[in-house]
Symmetry: D2
Subunit: 341 residues, 4 copies
């Protein structure tokens, strides 16, 4: 940790401050620069309260050298983490390492026919996982809020019929009790910093698909993962799904540079959601291909048999036909990087 002092700090006060710091178990390296004194804090800085330091009257700025996350840090875990998910069909599907995970399905489960039809179609086209929302976070209290437990039951029926493991979103701690047969639990963008929920998920042993908050930095995403990992659950899949910027041609701005950035800093797998990122079905194929080219460990895609009548997110859902063509293309892109779907 580096502490830059304000210009004009008095020697005596600096000495006193140094003693105060050393009492907290660190060694202090002193450098007198042209206009400011710089203190380097060496040793175990975990006990140092950086915020309180920033409030000290001598201090201008505190610069951290070490990342604030440990379990998610590649520095202490150089190999890629791979998340293995056994399906009801006995097949283990993986995300991470050389394995790409393709997760597909409708925004929300609407009825038995719809979910079974989409599930069958994406299975046939080669998807490894079925997604579908039962509990839906909606901006308006007057919008369709999902079928709830009934939706979950329909999703489980589709899991049974297709053999695909299922991915669905949790919106609160109390829902977890009905998630027993869910294979991958999704945390939505608006809950990435719902610390109460993250702590609870740390006690789970299921894989967590953690979506980046739409205005969160990569460090904040890794800290959210760290919350779950600190609780003992290290099976986390990170997901870039677009961030909020000044531009609004697309629903969000897909940040594909997050993929190499996250993979350099962390060992966790990283997938991409081009459906929510763009909000436009016609853009999804090009962005899905770009995601694989950028090194993503998979994609999560909204597929709907009848987007024009979907109860939510129809504008960004591709049809099973488009999905099937896209899968052919994605396999070729994967092969270029020596990866398999």
């Amino acid at each position: 940790m580096i502490v830059v002092l304000k210009p004009g700090a008095k020697k005596k006060e600096v000495l006193k401050f140094t003693v105060f710091l050393e009492q907290q178990g660190v060694k202090v390296h002193y450098s007198q620069g042209a206009s400011r004194i710089v203190l380097g804090l060496v040793g175990d800085t975990q006990g140092i309260n950086a915020e309180a330091l920033g409030a000290h009257h001598l201090v201008e700025k505190v610069v951290r050298v070490q990342e604030p996350y440990k379990r998610a840090n590649r520095l202490f875990h150089p190999e890629d983490t791979r998340i293995d998910v056994p399906g009801p069909d006995g097949v283990i599907r993986s995300i991470g390492g050389v394995s790409l995970g393709i997760i597909a399905g409708p925004c929300s489960v609407e009825n038995r026919e719809q979910i079974l039809r989409v599930a069958g179609a994406v299975k046939k086209a080669g998807a490894g996982f079925l997604r579908g929302g039962a509990f839906k976070p909606r901006t308006s209290p007057y919008s369709f809020q999902g079928l709830g437990c009934e939706g979950l039951d329909l999703l489980l029926a589709a899991k049974k019929e297709t053999g695909l493991p299922i991915v669905t979103e949790v919106m609160g701690n109390h829902q977890l009790e009905v998630f027993e047969d869910v294979d991958v639990i999704q945390v939505g963008t608006r809950n990435m910093q719902n610390f109460t929920l993250l702590k609870e998920l740390g006690r789970s042993r299921k894989p967590i698909l953690l979506k980046r908050g739409y205005a969160c930095t990569l460090t904040e995403l890794l800290m959210a993962a760290e919350y779950i990992m600190a609780g003992g659950n290290d099976r986390i899949i990170l997901c870039e799904r677009g961030i909020r910027t000044f531009d609004n041609f697309t629903r969000n701005t897909l940040d594909l540079s997050a993929i190499p950035a996250l993979k350099k800093q962390s060992h966790l797998p990283v997938i991409v959601d081009p459906s929510h990122a763009t909000g436009l079905a016609w853009m999804v194929p090009s962005m899905a291909k770009a995601a694989l080219a950028a090194g993503a460990d998979g994609v999560i895609l909204e597929v709907h048999n009848d987007p024009e009548n979907a109860l939510c997110d129809g504008e960004q859902s591709i049809t099973p036909e488009t999905f099937t063509l896209l899968m052919d293309s994605l396999k070729k892109y994967a092969a270029l990087e020596g990866r398999s779907i």
Copy 2:
């Protein structure tokens, strides 16, 4: 609702689409422009699923004319809402109308001496409400997470001693059962779109201090208020607390134009949190004055007796001495606009 069709839409298809729309209970006004057809949907558009329309193959763009919120809308409730909060001392303190609310206290309750000392000081200087965190949302799982229920007890002790009503943050539905004696429940910036929590707060009858999500639009803030109001609780205080932008000199960027913007669109009172917005104690006084000049119904300020040793947010906490001077100044600013503290 206005629906702009794609260039080249065929007459027959447009006719079919019009019939489809009219079956949903609206009248359709047709305009043939230079390159595109524009349809005006008139009547009760509540039943129209705008997202699904956007997914229709003929549609280029859907423009809403009406705001998506009703109960929070000034159009249907022209008078300012005033939130009255009775204190344990029998005094009713108000926020809204001509009354400005000044809420002050430490970021987090640390111990009995600290909270009683700060509470006494802010009461003496003229604050109307005491704030203090018991459950703390922290970016890092390794940071101080608040004293929890013990902190709440200490806050209640300070309430009893000073007679000030208290404001404290809730982080999850399950905590509400211990909030019985809390006067104003705060929803933090990261929970503004925690819809599970908002629905629960709709069932409460306590005033809710709803902080703007740090990357949420004003419409999204009003929709979050609408979630609570739709549940039956219309005692909501909106709070601008800084938004996330490209600039990082300050912790966030305080958006003071949100005050007149919100007050034009909604009847709910709007207060400002310059402490979290700037993250810098030396900026708090000028931003608090600017907030009142911009028309805010109050401010919420972090005050700590010993910022250099605060367990959190010391850098942005002002001392009781600064707070006392600032109160004198704020009273003069309030008087210029005919308002009282």
Copy 3:
């Protein structure tokens, strides 16, 4: 153009306003909605001053239906534009259509040896164009400002030696007189809305590489192109180079969804600059591949023989060795989409 009136607009006033609008040569369609009147302006709305309408006391909001750009609009020019650039070696290199353009070279021309060496290396690896800065826009007046005319001469020497056409940046109208032998003139991100310069470039007949302003919307980029095209020069290559967002792991945030978005709205070719977008050499290869996967018509890359001693942007420059490997990879990605480098 659609004009939404404020709630409560009086009939008589609306009538008067309608007459006023029709006098400006448009037909007005009137719709009375639930809370607001909506006017649809049909016919030639070019003469309507939308800003002045927005200032009218009856008006709440003006929504444009037509794009404000014409010459850059794909609606009126459905085929892709291809920019052909003849080199001194007699070969014509193209950007657009099935042809991908690869532009490579150092951030700034530093000396004869450097530019000749890099030029030779990128030529050998298969680049189609040589880039290099002679006039450099630098944030600090104390940083290296480029070699100026001397740099231009060295670039021309490299052009002669390699046969590659050259791309270099102009910073002001007065410099254009020395750009006679430059093949493609680059407009930097900070000059995208330097309207004085854009007008001057409209009088040129050279291809213009127009970089997106780092905080400009896609419509603004197309309007900047329109400025040049309105002057009579329609040989424009658009370039996405990263936008400014709240995140700062990378120098900017590369917005790859801009590629399909621009190509849908405009017929102009679109290339990508992953070097400036990321600011990190190790990220350039993955982002260059992603750009092609997303449908870009080419990339512009900073290549330096000795990044650790570069006079500018060393951190984002790849070596000729990395560039050569990357070219092999890019050719495979291009082939997947039926395009050639």
Copy 4:
């Protein structure tokens, strides 16, 4: 300057790197932290090329301790700078210190009657300066581009008639020759980083009103001022005029915390433009008052006698009547802080 090395840097290489740094005239302080080595560079770091350091294979991050601007830096010039502008009426009007500058007038000069009428009205209400655009930067090439030299002549006529000094915008180096009788030269938001123009203005001796680029950091604004100051012209007025964010209720987001931030870092005066920041006339009064409360040294306001028929920016222009009322209010706000208009 602090240089953080990558984890695992080898001792021998670090030694070699240290020698390399010391050859550039600095002393290197070495700290071995838990996972990384940190080097403190002490002495005259002006000669160090921080960008090149960042490209070094051993280096993870370079942190600057000193601000990159000198002449604009309050550290080396603790007193507030006050800009004195003599008018044709012999009165000296000042911006900075205790003096607030109020600049008012139309977005663009439209005709003799308009400019004389507005000029007379704002003079009567107490404005100190007349603003008006002759050369207009417009997003569309098809919009009104200003009257050019004719507009300048009309502005000079208004200056003569009212005795008010005039403020008008320059868009390119070649225009400066006709700016001889202009009192304050404005640099617009889109030209803040037009370095060619900034260098030319450094050779002028007229006061420069430098508007913050709508997506520029405060450091970048101060670096733009430094460009002009490095050329010998230190009469600069900084202007906050709103930044671009995700929110679009207002045209831009007014960043009032920029005022205390800039005034802490620099001795230059800071004014605010609430008209362009909000784009909404009805918001201008509250934001102008907030600007003074936040410590601004003045405001620049768009005033038009007939906003509904203005050739540009009518939506954000207040009438002379509103301006007159606002001036009364601003005087009271100024008095609260011991300042005079």
